[in-house]
Symmetry: C2
Subunit: 161 residues, 2 copies
Amino acid sequence: MTDTEPPRPGEIAVELPQRFDAGLYFIGTIRTPWKTRAECPKNPREAGDAICTIELDARYAPGLEGIAPDSSIVVLYFMDRARRDLVIQVPRHSGKPSGTFALRSPVRPNPIAVSVARIVAVASTRLSVTGLDCLDGTPLIDLKPYRPAVDAASTADENRR
Amino acid sequence: MTDTEPPRPGEIAVELPQRFDAGLYFIGTIRTPWKTRAECPKNPREAGDAICTIELDARYAPGLEGIAPDSSIVVLYFMDRARRDLVIQVPRHSGKPSGTFALRSPVRPNPIAVSVARIVAVASTRLSVTGLDCLDGTPLIDLKPYRPAVDAASTADENRR
């Protein structure tokens, strides 16, 4: 969906600010088996053991020092095909209007996805990982070591689905 | 630390690209009890039950529809005082050089923090939460519902610290 298409019935678009407040560098590219949105798994669990490759730009190569296989990593990436102006969306799977911040939809003011992946192998600036479900060619924004104290909800059972 | 200070011994800075690849909107502000970096808790666990307030800009208010107390939320915020050009850093606590992507340091090409917070109360565009450890006035970038399938490592025990 692009900004030029009208919202679906029940959806609400807002006027975004005229200027950005900060800038992002794309620091690499995520290679996956999925070339279209329709092919993408619905979530990382559905992606199963599919191997994706995180290709970091050579400029940032030393930044991988200390990253090893068999650890978990938080991957931030930019969903650059999504419109950014919807505050109420009607997801196809539910058909019910919901606030953007109550959804994991790529459509949001800042279309940054956060996903925890498992590192299978590291070869120079390429990380082979499982647990991602994004489109092939997705721009990479950041990698962080996974820390349960920061990243896991302590009492998240009621959110489990 | 700003870009104008020299890196510490053992640290490596790179030349960043001349242009940004995408833009961010600051969509609100995080109010916390901590006015300086020295006052900030070292991690969310140390922050304990300190209540912080996420103030969403009125423009995006409908986006909170469906967000309720006693749930966990993924908070993305921008660490706008950090330099962005270090690929190897020497954290004060360890004194050992490490790759930026193996650290949770605010110093990184895209200084976006990800933290899971617990919603205590919702009043219009203000969310009272626990679990954040950032500076007062930190710009908000995104809120997402916490989903263990995406956000929790399935076998993260060896990362636990």
